[in-house]
Symmetry: C2
DNA sequence: TGACTATACATCGATGACGATGTACTGCGG
DNA sequence: CCGCAGTACATCGTCATCGATGTATAGTCA
């Protein structure tokens, strides 16, 4: 799996897991999810759909155009559904470390059955955040914001520290609630919500 | 400029602006800067160096191997130095919105001469963060963390909100100090620090 | 009617990033 | 002396992404 190969495909699989959609609607949802940070070109989406279809992960059904041109309704196959679960349960390391990827994964983690498997993924992120890492070093030693005289580099460390603190807090409380049975999150969405249209 | 084309090249230009380096050392510095989030493959770095050389932005000077194999000392040309400044002053929109890109830009923003040009870049980020944007919507309306019942999606919004708050605070104080003359940051590094070797 | 916008999908060429693999030299431990 | 790790650079084929461009339909406003 190429480093970049995952993010878009994961989003496609994730959204289609919730409901069958056509490409244009899919694009709008992906744009809403991550578009403000990184827009997705149409010329990236349609080939990606084709790729997933070729791999047998989704099926296409022609429909006469309700609003305009004819649509291809996209539905996940059984293998597609299994593939999403697999990608959620065993993410690449870069999907743990890169915040963009990690957020995309989080957006669909509810579709991973069983609270302990969800918790295991959160624990991987927790382990990553617990490692002492900086953007700037004095030899081996990570530098703290206070030790820099560059205000912009100070900013990087200040912001990263605040993000990390907020995320660690959220991770710990969420892990606690996942570990106490009964209150854990179940997937109440997938295949139930068929209100694809606006 | 392709969406991905900037990040690595900016880092190369940025580090070489500070001191001439050879590829291997460059790689170690880039890995220290962003490697914990997104590792850089050697097979990506060397072609990138070649690209920049071909574009006349850097020059290569052969040196007998100090530690091992012979090195290519890399130095920014005058055009290379100008190009870094240009990329810092007029970043693509995705370099403002994508945190990875933004951090890379911030790491070298000190090399942009004149405090008001630095401030103008920070203001672009400020404007982006001030726009009400979410990852999840009810039609047009951005949803708040409290409105979601998915704990993972709640996490995304919680973390993003904390990051945004910390960054806004830092942006505002830094902008204030850039606007009050005398206390503004000058570039005290570029071309002065020639201690490239460990 | 004609211009324009939104919907909906598609292809093409260019290119940057990737993993795999190769080369070659130095220094160290066993 | 041999193997291994670290240093240092390079190429190759694959592939995901991109911008540009094209096609077609439906609805809106002048």
């Amino acid at each position: 799996m190429r480093q970049n190969a995952g993010m878009l495909e994961l989003a496609i699989l994730g959204f289609l897991y919730e409901a069958p959609l056509h490409g244009y609607e899919l694009r709008k949802r992906i744009t809403a999810l991550t578009g403000h940070v990184r827009p997705v070109a149409e010329s990236t989406l349609y080939p990606a759909i084709k790729r997933l279809e070729k791999a047998g992960l989704l099926a296409r059904e022609m429909q006469p155009g309700a609003a305009a041109a004819p649509r291809h309704m996209l539905t996940l196959t059984t293998e597609g559904r299994a593939e999403l679960v697999r990608r959620l349960a065993e993410p690449e390391q870069v999907e743990i470390t890169d915040e963009n990827r990690w957020f995309t994964l989080l957006a669909f983690l509810r579709h991973l059955p069983e609270a302990d498997r969800q918790a295991e993924v959160l624990r991987r992120r927790l382990r990553f955040l617990d490692e002492p890492a900086s953007f700037f070093y004095d030899g081996e030693r990570p530098l703290r914001a206070e030790e820099l005289d560059d205000p912009f580099r100070q900013g990087i460390l200040t912001i990263a520290r605040a993000t990390s603190a907020a995320e660690l807090k959220w991770l710990r409380t969420t892990l606690r609630s996942l570990e106490s049975p009964g209150t854990g999150s179940r997937d109440v969405t997938g295949a139930t919500d068929l209100t694809a249209e606006a």
